[in-house]
Amino acid sequence: MATRRTTKKPNTSKEDLLQYYRDMLLIRRFEEKAGQLYGMGLIGGFCHLYIGQEAVVVGLEAAAEEGDKRITTYRDHGHMLACGMDPKGVMAELTGREGGYSKGKGGSMHMFSKEKHFYGGHGIVGANVPLGAGLAFSDKYRGNDRVTFTYFGDGAANQGQVYETFNMAALWELPVIFVIENNQYAMGTAQKRSTSTPELYTRGSAFGIPGEAVDGMDVIAVRDAGRKAIDHCRAGEGPYILEMKTYRYRGHSMSDPAKYRTREEVQKIREEKDPIEHVRDQILEGKHAGEDELKDIDKDIKGIINEAADFARESPEPDESELWTDIYAEA
């Protein structure tokens, strides 16, 4: 087991801040580019952008260790980039090409990486929650101390199977962290119109699962909450719930006109709570880096994203024979 970190006075170094800035900006720029490619018809079907929620995955990945697992629903591009998957492979999956993580057969909602312990990318709201508990079960069965981050949204938090899973996870003390990304809208339905009690972090109390609400727009707050939850799980004390209060700037998917909220509401959050601007301010105020250095990071990321977009356009469509492969694993 890793040495226990003290969470009282988190020591956030200059390097940490710059890394978080970089990681969040990578997701933001990736998603903007994905939106653009969608607009050009290069990406089809459903495409759910993560813009606004970047601090959640970057903060938790900063707390995770090698071998920890993660699984999420379909707003998943950010999770993949944050755990180190290659932007080229992710973007090429979005364009449905051979060079994508699933050879073009999964698309935006279905990508996986065994190497990075990323278990998808699932399209059915709530269905990844028991799957995540199952991954945690496999680690406990083997007797190691890995944890599984199981991400889902405020919409999924009302699904029945989530509570079936809470019960089993608590009963069997599974090392699973349930991360509720509360972006306040279940597709187009505001939380107060769909959810009887707004405090989602208390949803485990009937099962004895501790939970806390976290400012999901503050990457350091997210990281520190993540460390606390990880310590709880690694100590064998069972599951933990983190409710991340966050916000998505774009519509639910590309074809969402987002008429259920005002432009002013979105603009206000962007101006006052943006997770990337927040870290940027911390960097500049703490004199950890100057504007020029940040500009260099921006430029560097733009290069990575353009390279990913080029790859995603140039990679060929999968061979027609791929239609018939990967239906069964060879016995």
């Binding site: 050009m40 993580y101 996986f112 508990a133 199952g134 079960f137 899973t165 990967d326």
Partner: protein, 463 residues
């Protein structure tokens, strides 16, 4: 570098739209996330955001313009010190994504899956001697055969474990897991709460994590609560992951009608699961096949639906006493040879098929009885070879008649052995009604030996 801003596709089906309103004007500075315009798609009015930062150099399409095709340049964005005229040279290649995937017409008929044609000349159906002569046989009940298979595989590999309702301390609702808790302990024999959806999903997750779960449903009727996890999570993930993430798991439990338990507890799901690519589906009849096929299922790297039957649990069959009895998937078994008609069945349907064959023999009709054993993969070759010999076929199952396994076989035989048929293929199935409780009605709702005999007499024109 000046860039063109293109008319975006804002829904999966949008090909053109109306530029309803510009929210910026020439000379405005914009940054990523600023709203540039409102665009009416085929579905709704959408806000269109800037991706790059710069100054709006020129607006190319005025507001109110209808029918603007996707990817038409609608404005030019310039950087400091640039003119909108620079765009012509610099951004032109962006305008036409020549590698854009072809649009497919959703209404166009998809190419039918090509069923593998049987090799011609088709192999002879034979009573294959799977077990060497002289092997010691032991009369074993089906439930013990299943238990023995699980115990042997759990001894073989630590990753194999069993979970389900009442599998541990209660020793199995139907006593199928009897003794497993004593031998393997609570780590590997796990009682679950009564939450099929949740524990099926948890089992699938454990399989993603590299374990080999055996998930018992107390009956498959309750697996309908877990259908999404079985179909969407277990069966499709290998494909969706481009072959990276498999799901080595067995879902097993009793399936089909038991006795007097009415509509919600009496249903045969063979055809339901056989519909799904990515699943393997097994429905044995004899104890030896239950044992050998379950061992194969546990070792298989794919999700396997293993359909048992409560009435068969107590029935005993000879089971060969060999060290490691396995039976391959996709291989039917010919229980009895005959030249006059082929009767194809599986699972408990075999009891009607074999009884009917015995009675028919007394009437001078020799039936060949084929036990499919596995429904996915299905041994088409053996069926076709037998039909080529007998020229007639009757199928037998307890499931509902519409879209049944028998329907599928009839279509397959028609497509692949049409010229050999001397009569239409007939399907004996359960009736097209929910299972009634009353004893007499229940009997009527299921198929029967008499129905099989009548069908055979029809196709042999001896009715």
């Amino acid at each position: 570098m000046a860039t063109e801003i293109l008319m975006p596709a804002l829904s999966p089906t949008m090909e053109e739209g109306t530029l309803a309103k510009w929210l910026v004007k020439e000379g405005d500075e914009v940054k990523s996330g600023d709203i540039l315009a409102e665009i009416e798609t085929d579905k709704a009015t959408m806000e269109f955001e800037a991706v790059d930062e710069g100054t709006i150099g020129r607006i190319l399409v005025s507001e109110g313009t209808e029918g603007v095709a996707v990817n038409t340049p609608i404005a030019v964005l310039v950087e400091e010190g640039e003119s909108a005229d620079d765009v012509a040279a610099s951004a032109a290649p962006e305008a036409e994504p020549e590698t854009a995937p072809e649009k497919t017409d959703a209404a166009a008929p998809t190419k039918p899956a090509q069923a593998p044609a049987p090799a011609a000349p088709a192999p002879q159906a034979d009573l294959e001697p799977e077990i060497p002569e002289g092997t010691e046989m032991k009369s074993t009940a089906v439930r013990e055969a299943i238990r023995d298979a699980m115990a042997e595989e759990m001894r073989r590999a630590d990753e194999v474990f069993v979970m389900g309702e009442e599998v541990a301390e209660y020793q199995g609702a139907y006593k199928v897991t009897q003794g497993l808790l004593d031998e393997f302990g609570a780590r590997r024999v796990i009682d679950t709460p009564i939450t099929e959806h949740g524990f099926a999903g948890l089992g699938v997750g454990a399989a993603f994590g590299g374990l080999r779960p055996i998930v018992e449903f107390m009956t498959f009727n309750f697996a309908m609560q877990a259908m999404d996890q079985i179909v969407n999570s277990a069966a499709k993930t290998l494909y969706m992951s481009g072959g990276q993430m498999g799901c080595p798991l067995v879902f097993r439990g009793p399936n089909g009608a038991a006795a007097r338990v009415a509509a919600q507890h009496s249903q045969d799901y063979a055809a339901w699961y056989s519909h799904i690519p990515g699943l393997k589906v097994v429905q044995p009849y004899s104890a030896a096949d239950f044992k050998g096929l379950l061992k194969t299922a546990i070792r298989d790297p794919n999700p396997v639906i293993f359909l048992e039957n409560e009435i068969l649990y107590g029935r005993s069959f000879d089971v060969p006493q060999v060290d490691d009895l396995t039976v391959p998937f996709g291989k039917a078994r010919v229980w009895r040879e005959g030249a006059d008609v082929t009767i194809v069945s599986f699972g408990i349907g075999m009891t009607y098929a074999l009884e009917a064959a015995d009675e028919l023999a007394q009437q001078g009709i020799e039936a060949e009885v084929v036990d499919l054993r596995t429904l996915r993969p299905l041994d088409y070759d053996t069926v076709i070879a037998s039909v080529q010999k007998t020229n007639r076929c009757v199928t037998v199952e307890e499931g509902f008649p519409v879209c049944s396994i028998g329907n599928h076989l009839a279509a397959y035989i028609m497509q692949n052995a049409f010229d050999y048929l001397d009569a239409p293929v007939l399907n004996c199935t359960g009736k097209d009604v929910p299972m009634p409780y009353a004893a007499n009605l229940e009997k009527l709702a299921l198929t029967s030996t008499k129905e099989v005999i009548d069908a055979v007499r029809q196709v042999t024109y001896t009715a």
